[in-house]
Symmetry: C2
């Protein structure tokens, strides 16, 4: 299993457009084989700060996500909304060891 935590800072005024693309990506990602979680969070302190929490059963499934049409549409669609480069942190889950 691999969990990637992605920190996203969006240009002020672009959050709603960002969320349209992100909801489309989320709605399709959760149907992918091997997807365990795809949570989209918004900071309560900064409405332009989002965190994506993406868990996949295998590294292959996580890589396959990046080849999907919905991911590519998202990546291209949100590019102009980024206030700074996204930072993704690939992680191992320690506790619990597996997500269900």
């Amino acid at each position: 299993m691999i969990v990637t935590v992605v920190n996203v800072h969006v240009i002020p005024g672009k959050a709603e457009e960002f969320l349209k693309f992100t909801k489309y990506n989320h709605d399709n990602a959760i149907k992918e084989d091997g997807n365990l979680r795809f949570d989209v969070l918004r900071s309560r302190e900064d409405p332009n700060y989002f965190i994506l929490y993406e868990a996949y059963a295998t590294e292959e499934a996580a890589k396959a996500h990046k080849d999907t049409e919905h991911y590519k549409k998202w990546r291209e669609g949100v590019a102009e909304f980024m206030a700074e480069p996204r930072v993704g942190v690939p992680c191992d889950a320690l506790f619990p060891e597996d997500f269900e």
Copy 2:
């Protein structure tokens, strides 16, 4: 529901001791009323970088966590292992709206 994403950087050489306290906190937190998730992740790129992903059904349940004995033991126990102050980001979950 509230989700708090906590970024923790541990002093090199102290990760295993940090994890002993954190496992104890995790094992008890998941039994709390209102706890939906308490995931402990470790960065694949930096073994001293941990992310805690704590979801509670209500703000009251999240606050009650900080009054538990296991949380207080964790907070006091890990204090000397912090390489820098922890950064917790309180968030709303947008998609999905609820964790189960």
